[in-house]
């Protein structure tokens, strides 16, 4: 434990498995179990064996109905939250970014990337028989190329527009009475920076740029650090696409000026403490002094 991080052996984890599946470990121990399991070459089937019983415990809970108004609260909160890691939608019918945004509001986001199958949808299906094959192929290639260029342009515009809107949201929140604002400066060897606003009720908007795109299961995690010696509290995660911009709408508990906000790039979602160096960080302060 010389580095302040608990390291567990395989046998230690076997020993702690029953408590781990019930969530009864001290937080540091639980994190150490997860860290071990993530890299253990032998494996820990006992976690599955013991953990499989746990959902059964739910069946013993007495039923209590939530208040009827909770539904509206949940849906309102969700409407304000930004889903994580949903790839940006490309709406090829939208002539302008504004129209694309409107379409996004009413239609499901695309989860598949634009690929050959999508391009095929645009291939003209009716062409005059008098057009010779060479021209036909050239025309198709030209149309595909044009559509591809349009799609790329549209995507860039959407992403730029999205980033601009996110920054606007930060500025709007930061200008409210009682809000504080943080500029997240890049840390050593990093190029990312950002701006965040924290409202008096803890509502927080963060907009980052210059981030390396996320791939695989990697995510960017945001952390709130209430005091210099306090443990970082995870406040949310976000993915970053090709334009290097990322954003987060979340809540920072116990919000007050002086909270440090930091961003790390985590190999997997759900990290409970930063496992990688800080990419960018800044401390909130009242915008007017």
């Amino acid at each position: 434990m010389t580095d302040g991080v608990l390291h567990l052996s395989h046998d230690d984890v076997v020993d702690l498995a029953p408590l781990h599946v019930l969530g009864a470990l001290e937080p540091g121990e639980a994190a150490a179990v997860r860290a071990h399991v993530a890299t253990c070459a032998i494996g820990h089937p006992e976690l599955e064996e013991l953990g499989s019983v746990v959902p059964a415990l739910w069946e013993t809970v007495d039923q209590v109905e939530p208040p009827a108004e909770l539904k509206a609260r949940v849906l309102a909160a969700a409407a304000e939250a930004v889903p994580v890691a949903a790839p940006p939608r490309v709406d090829r019918r939208a002539p302008t970014p504004t129209a694309a945004r409107d379409a996004d509001a009413t239609e499901p986001r695309r989860l598949t990337s634009v690929g050959p199958a999508d391009e095929a949808e645009f291939r003209p299906t009716v062409l005059s028989r008098s057009v010779d094959w060479a021209f036909r192929i050239a025309a198709v290639l030209a149309i595909v190329a044009l559509l591809g260029w349009n799609l790329a342009l549209q995507r860039d515009l959407n992403q730029a527009d999205d980033y601009r809107n996110r920054v606007a949201a930060v500025l709007q929140l930061g200008s409210q009475a009682g809000s504080s604002v943080a500029f997240l400066a890049p840390q050593a060897g990093q190029a990312a920076s950002g701006i965040a606003a924290v409202a008096a009720d803890g509502h927080t908007e963060l907009a980052m740029s210059g981030l390396a795109p996320t791939t695989g299961s990697a995510v960017y995690a945001a952390w709130a650090i209430a005091a210099p010696d306090a443990a970082p509290i995870p406040i949310g995660e976000f993915a970053v696409s090709g334009n290097g911009a990322g954003n987060l709408a979340t809540t920072v508990p116990g919000a007050a000026p002086g909270v440090t906000l930091a961003v790390t790039r985590e190999p997997n979602p759900g990290a409970t403490k930063p496992t990688t160096p800080i990419v960018a960080a800044g401390t909130t302060r009242a915008p007017t002094a």
Binding site: G23, P27, L57, E65
Partner: protein, 206 residues
């Protein structure tokens, strides 16, 4: 009547799982209606678990809201993962509720945040043969088949949010005994839920 209005002892079936998956796909597509469906489906179960842990209506509402919004935000990441939506969602509820009571507890400093491991790691879907016949009666009978001290240790940990140290102090029991009670209790429960009652009874006597 929605599923959420059914008793907690709802028998799980592949039909319910299929419906859950469909909701999750719509959720990942960003359909707010899907979240409404998910809420309707699990509101009672989610709120009941939160209330069992926090014994506080307002806190339970916050927990359910946090869990549902978290599910909404992360659905697209979870959509490709295997496992039941129910287990995923209710695990989030459990974790948020435990976190809430630990933060509230006056003798405990604000703990390090500790999100649960991915659901497939610590809470795999209950094995199929059990899922098919799981109901409250079965589970209560299984709990009755393990020893009272094992049951107490499991409940203090899972619904009380106590750490192993706190359970040891609360029950005036050595830490090693707490660990073995929980291990044997869980194994006994598993056997009882599998229908191997004799083995479970033998375990309880140990």
């Amino acid at each position: 009547m929605t599923q959420a209005d059914e008793p907690l002892g709802l028998r799980r079936s592949s039909t319910a799982d299929d419906a859950d998956r469909a909701v999750l796909v719509r959720l990942a597509d960003g359909e707010l209606d899907a979240l409404e469906d998910l809420y309707d489906r699990y509101k009672t179960m989610a709120y009941s678990i939160a209330y069992r842990i926090t014994a506080d209506g307002a806190l339970s509402e916050d927990v359910v809201q946090d869990a549902l919004v978290g599910a909404w935000r992360n659905a697209s990441r979870y959509a490709d993962a295997r496992g039941s939506v129910r287990t995923w969602l209710l695990s989030i509820v459990h974790h948020r509720a435990i976190d809430a009571v630990r933060r509230r507890r006056p003798t405990t400093n604000l703990p390090e945040p500790d999100d649960p491991a991915p659901a497939r790691l610590t809470l795999p879907d209950i094995w199929p043969e059990v899922a098919e016949r799981l109901d409250a009666e079965t589970v209560r009978a299984a709990l009755a088949s393990i020893s009272p001290v094992q049951r107490e240790a499991i409940e203090l940990a899972y619904f009380g949010g106590l750490t192993q140290q706190e359970i040891a102090e609360r029950t005036a029991t050595p830490l090693g005994t707490v660990k073995s009670r929980i291990r044997l209790g869980l194994l006994g429960l598993r056997r009882a839920l599998s229908g191997d009652d004799e083995a479970a009874a033998a375990e309880a006597d140990r």
